[in-house]
Structures are given as C-alpha cells and as structure tokens.
C-alpha cells in the first residue's frame, strides 16, 4: 500500500473548513433533520418547533388536500414505482397527464418530464448544444446548468451576471455558422434577483441564438399566469426552452422542459439523462399534475406571497440587515453576512429562536459571499412574518450582525 494516493486528499480543504466551523460549537448547518413536518411552514427540527423559511415551498402545495388525495389514489392504483425508463416500461397514464398539465399551464406544444430539475438542465443543455456549438451563459448559473455544459461537447462561454453588453459582445465573437444557445435564469436563487430577460432575449435573438430560461424559482407566482419572469416581461413566446421543477412551487419532486420547437419530441430518444434513469413514481406525477392545475387558479395565494415578500424585505432592511436586492424581486430574500463564521453563528441563533433559513456559502455563492437565504411561502401568515422579523432582530443583535 505504500505510495498509494488517497483519492480523498483533494477534499482536505473542505474537511478542514467544516471541522473548523463545528469546533466553534455551532450546530451543523448541513446536518439538520426535520423530525416531523407539521405544515408547509412549520416542522420539528432538533426537538424544537421551527418556522420554515428556507424550503422553496413557495405556494405551500406540499400539504394541499387535493394534492395528497391524488398521490394516495395513484399509490393504490399504480403502485409505489415504475421500475423503468420513460422510453421502456416507465411511461404511465400519469406521466402523460402531468405533461398535458404542463402544456396547459404554459400554453406550449411540448412538455418533457424528468426525474429531477437537475436532470432536466443536465439533459436538455448537454443534448441540444453539441460539438462545435456555443453555450453562452450567465456566470451565476445554477450548478445543474454548469453540469449540463460539462456533460456536453459544446464550447462554453460565460458572461458577467445579468450584463447585457458582456453577453452581446461574446455572441458577436462566435464564429460564423456555429450554433448558439443562450442560457439564462428568471430568478437567480442566491440573491433572489431577476434577469432583464426582455433585453437579453432580444439580443440573443438578434444574434441568431436559441434561448433556454430556467424558471425554477418563479413558477406559480411570477407573471400574469404564474409562468415566470419571461411571461412577466412579455417575452415567453421568444423562449425556445423553459426549464422548471416540481420541487419548489409544485411541492413534490421532478423536473421538466416545455417548448414549442416542432422537432422537440425527438429529445425523448436522444437525451441520455431522460433515457437512462427510472421515471418518477406514479404518486409523484399524480401529485404534480394536481398541483400544477391548481396553480393555474392561485391568484389570491400569489398576492399573499408577494405581500409576505415585501413585508419581510422592508422589515429586515429597516432593522439594518444588508439584503441581496434593493427591493424585493422574488420570494427569495437574501441576507448578506459579513463572513462564514458570523453567518453560521447567526444561522444557529435563528435556529434556536425557532427559525430555519438556508445558509449558503462559497463556492455556491456569487462573489464568495455568505448568505442567509429566506424563501417565503404563500402559507406563511402575516403574523408569522412579523414573528420572523422579531427573531431576526434578536438573533442579529445577539451575534453582533446588526
């Protein structure tokens, strides 16, 4: 064995960072267990009743009675799982039904459901952009987008976050005759800011690129029909591929792509992350289809979610916290921490108050920031939001953040 290289040596820096963090005595921010979940907004964590403010469960559909009934019925009628790929034995009536629900929700011709949102980006990006093509993408793109680029053979060209001019310059430098795919997100989940899709998509189209927009963090509540930021800015008809997920507003798990491309259906045969994995369980697609159809008529819930977002943003700002955006742009309010140590201390102080938020740290964050990300839910009551602001104020003072 002498001279053998331990393949885990490469992880030593992160092992050390984690050990250093835990040595300071804080609870492990990445080892939290939800012992019981009481509702979309409350769980028992580490024996404490805790308000959930970091779940992306924007529309609170996880405990919707109709959604749960649909899942139970599908379990009874179709069993626990499909044990097969969508292109072999894994397409049940429920998979076609949820794809129809997506086509109706977005008003588009085609919908393809993947087993996770991660796989949707992985599959579509790596398959659509091939050797000799160029992917032009925002530097703050989600890991699933970067991994989709890595899995494929296209040339990958990033540009500065939301910088229209930087994107345009790069598009214009791409060699004549090469295929181009511009990849954008509606809402960027780290800071909760939105993209100027109207301007960016116009530039992309003027330069002959196809456009993919990930609307994971906008589905259900941004845009007149909840179709996302592209709809809100009036440019959904210019988007070639919308990527989305069932694991946020829809309230279960799964991913999808909707498109009007006339040849879209061929992707089912050539997209490896779609073909070489088992399809979603019948209960999951049944809950998703029911939830998506209910989200089409969720105007009141949407309005309440926006109210919550505005109230929390104003409350935290007024108490002196530094936030990711000047004004609330989505249901994500990101609180910027001075460094990882104090961010972890604040995270723990909040947990002791009975509040769960996401602790986000480098390298997942832009500009190496440490963030406490809050994602609001339409089921948070106005009273809960006030309670949350009070918890932030006490924890912020206790840890010296404010």
């Amino acid at each position: 064995m002498s001279g053998a290289i331990d393949l885990f040596d490469k992880f030593q820096p992160i092992i050390d960072m984690r050990a250093g963090l835990l040595a300071s005595g804080v609870e492990d921010p990445f080892g939290l267990v939800m012992e019981r979940v009481l509702s979309p907004t409350v769980a028992i964590c580490n024996g404490r009743e805790t308000i959930l403010l970091g779940t992306y469960n924007y529309m609170g559909m996880t405990f919707d009675a109709d959604v749960i009934d649909a899942g139970k019925q599908a379990l009874d009628d179709f069993g626990a799982g499909t044990t097969g790929s969508r292109v072999l034995n894994g397409t049940y009536a429920g998979h076609k039904a949820v794809e129809q629900a997506l086509k109706d929700f977005y008003g588009m011709d085609h919908a393809m459901v993947f087993s996770t949102g991660y796989q949707a980006n992985l599959g579509i990006i790596s398959t659509v952009a091939g050797k000799g093509d160029y992917i032009v993408l925002d530097i703050d793109s989600h890991a699933s987008i970067w991994d989709g680029c890595k899995l494929g053979d296209a040339e990958v060209v990033p540009f500065k976050h939301n910088d229209i001019e930087a994107m345009e310059k790069r598009l214009k430098r791409i060699p004549e005759g090469a295929g181009k795919l511009v990849v954008l997100e509606g809402v960027y989940s780290m800071l909760g800011d939105i993209a100027p899709l109207k301007e960016m998509i116009a530039v992309a189209k003027a330069n002959g690129a196809m456009v993919l927009v990930d609307e994971a963090h906008s589905m259900g509540f941004i845009g007149p029909n909840g179709r996302g930021v592209a709809e809100d800015q009036g440019v959904l008809d210019q988007v070639d591929f919308v990527i989305g997920t069932f694991s946020k507003s829809v309230g279960t798990v799964g991913g999808f792509c909707v498109s009007n491309h006339p040849k879209f259906e061929i992707l089912r045969l050539v997209c490896r992350p779609y073909v070489f994995t088992a399809s979603l369980p019948p209960s999951v697609v049944a809950t998703a289809a029911t939830s998506i159809r209910k989200l089409m008529h969720a105007g009141n819930k949407r309005a309440h979610l926006w109210e919550n977002s505005r109230t929390l943003h104003a409350g935290l700002k007024q108490r002196g916290f530094q936030l990711g955006t000047e004004a609330p742009q989505s249901a994500i309010i990101s609180v910027i921490m001075p460094d990882l140590e104090r961010g972890a201390a604040m995270w723990e102080a909040l947990l002791r108050e009975g509040l769960y938020v996401n602790l986000a740290r480098p390298p997942a964050t832009p500009a190496n920031m440490t963030l406490l990300r809050c994602s609001l839910c339409a089921e948070h009551s106005a009273e809960q939001v006030q309670t949350i602001i009070g918890m932030f104020e006490r924890a912020g003072k206790a840890t010296g953040i404010i």
Partner: protein, 79 residues
C-alpha cells in the same frame, strides 16, 4: 499581431490582477503563483477577451495553466 506585441499588451492587463506584484514569466501559473480564484479568472479572461476581441471558452481555459500558454493561445485565437 506577433507574440512579443501580444505579450506586451497582456502584461498591461495582468498588472491589476497581480496583487502580490510577482515577476511574471512564461512559466508563471495562474492558480499557483498568481493565486487566481474563479472570480479573478473570470474578470481577467473578460479583460483579455475584450482587449483582443476574441473568445476564450471555458474548454480552452482548461488547457491554459501558465502565462506562456495564455500568450500562445491569444496569438492563435487572433488568427
């Protein structure tokens, strides 16, 4: 543009990113010697791309570890 002229222009661009002011040679590495993190790489690559009106894709960046390799790549990419 020949290699010497290209290297001269890159030398000007690298100065603001060379925080420790080390002497840069063809063998200088970006991650090791210059201690560039991913954010610095992005800003530096963008500066080079804009100066020479070229694209250095991430695929090409993966092949560039030293200053000398960067100069060679920029000479090549200018055609």
């Amino acid at each position: 543009m020949d290699r010497a002229a290209t290297a001269e222009r890159i030398a000007v661009l690298i100065a603001p990113f060379n925080k420790k002011g080390i002497a840069v040679t063809d063998a200088t590495t970006f991650s090791g010697d210059l201690e560039f993190d991913s954010l610095t790489v992005m800003d530096f690559v963008a500066a080079i791309e804009d100066e020479f009106d070229i694209i250095i894709s991430m695929n090409q960046q993966a092949e560039i570890e030293t200053y000398g390799q960067l100069v060679d790549a920029v000479v090549r990419l200018q055609g």
